[in-house]
Amino acid sequence: MVNIQDLYKKFGKNEVLSGVNLDIGEGGIFAVLGPNGSGKTTLIKCLLGMVIPNKGTISVLGSNIKNGSAYRRKIDYLPQIANFPSNLKVKELITMLKDLRGKTMVDKDLINLFKLEPFLDKKLGNLSGGTKQKVNIVLAFMFDSPLIILDEPTSGLDPISLIRLKTLIETEKAKGKTILITSHIMSFVEEVSDEIVFLLEGKIYFKGSINELKTKTNQPDFEHAIASILTENHA
């Protein structure tokens, strides 16, 4: 599904990615983890073509991303900060994206799922953070693409919506989709992900299942395993 080879990215003097090699197969949920500044968001943005790498190649579904923007038709993306043009209404934003990407029927169900009907005619600037995140999620899942990238999907969500999100992710997985997630909520990661990719200082420190991570670090649970990686490397 996604193949990343020898990826380097520098912002000024600060090298954020230094030789990332990653191969993500088809189907399943992958969590990209790492401490602050480890390059998670940069990696995702490279994948989306928003950040231009200094070196290395990325291919999505077999096509090199340098060859055009059409590959993004296969990706659904949920950005970390959900801020939209404040003059637009929710309905208009959804129509606009449909206009830009093509028709879809899923949007009605999603709106229903997150109980967004009362907000459809409101301007995006007047929505609360949580509602905005819900709109964000609707937009991300709307197009039924084979690859879904979720950057901090849980932020600002109330518990009911969180449960709905989890169900949503599970159903999408069941359809055979590939889902990339970054999150700080370890319990959420542990609950949903099949495999984790751990980034540290611009490199892939670990890739494998949660159990493999526990074995490797000799820790009984996931949170401690992560913590031990961090203490080991900072000591």
Partner: protein
């Protein structure tokens, strides 16, 4: 690109700033015409307003729009869209909505005043055309500044500086150097100096209409050819077009290499 243009344009048409801008010009037009009742004088005052204010508003508004729509841009970047069409669309959205505020705001009072029956219609249309050119130029320059500066404060600072430089300081330096080198033939230099500043360029275009009698008082042959024939008009318009095309192409070039 057209779709982006459409949404940027709708977005701006709904923003209160477009209306403020529109209302300002409407008021200006009404005050100039109906309180003053002197079309020729109104055109001269308008020229002063246009060559000073339009660039200022174009830069400030362009920078502001870019920074404010950053998240929207990022949303668009994740869609299967070309970067050039995203930025070109947004740029055109801003430039067109600003130009529309200008043209409608000033145009409506003039139409009601009975402009079509007046001989000042050509002077006035030229004013609106140069105003539109200036909007396109300075919005493009603003997008360039914003693309190159992540820091908003810096971006605004540079935008104001750019305006200050082109609207005032440039002419000061220009004047000084003309006086300093007055012993040399200067007509080519002075025309060249005009081409390098879009505000001066637009001013010259308007001078061709309003002050042709004074311009023809100067002896230089190059001046004569420039102002005495349609040559000056053609060259000025070509230069104005270049002033749009160059910043826009830099904007596209820069946007393709930028990380978001």
């Amino acid at each position: 690109m057209l779709k982006i243009l459409k949404y940027s344009f709708y977005d701006l048409m709904r923003s209160r700033w477009s209306y403020v801008y529109f209302a300002f010009y409407l008021l200006l037009g009404v005050v100039l015409l109906f309180l003053n009742n002197d079309l020729s004088k109104a055109v001269i005052t308008l020229m002063n307003v246009i060559i000073v204010l339009v660039p200022l508003i174009g830069t400030i508004f362009g920078v502001m729009y870019y920074y404010n729509s950053k998240e929207f841009t990022e949303l668009l970047l994740a869609q299967p869209l070309k970067r050039s069409s995203i930025f070109l669309g947004q740029y055109l959205g801003v430039a067109i909505s600003l130009s529309m505020s200008l043209v409608l705001g000033l145009g409506l009072p003039f139409v009601f005043y009975g402009l079509f029956k007046s001989s000042a219609i050509w002077d006035f249309s030229l004013l609106l055309i140069t105003g539109t050119f200036l909007t396109f130029i300075f919005t493009a320059l603003a997008f360039n500044i914003a693309l190159s500066n992540e820091n908003r404060i810096k971006g605004f600072g540079y935008a104001i500086l750019l305006w200050l430089f082109l609207a005032i300081i440039y002419d000061g330096i220009f004047l000084m150097s003309l006086i300093l080198f007055e012993d040399y033939p200067l007509d080519k230099l002075s025309l060249f100096g005009t081409m390098l500043n879009p505000i001066d360029l637009s001013r010259t275009l308007i001078l061709l209409k309003l002050d042709i009698s004074a311009l023809l008082g100067y002896t230089g042959a190059v001046f004569k050819q420039f102002f005495g024939t349609s040559f000056g008009l053609v060259v000025s318009f070509v230069a104005l077009l270049l002033w749009i095309l160059l910043p826009v192409s830099r904007m596209i070039f820069k946007s393709k290499r930028k990380d978001f």
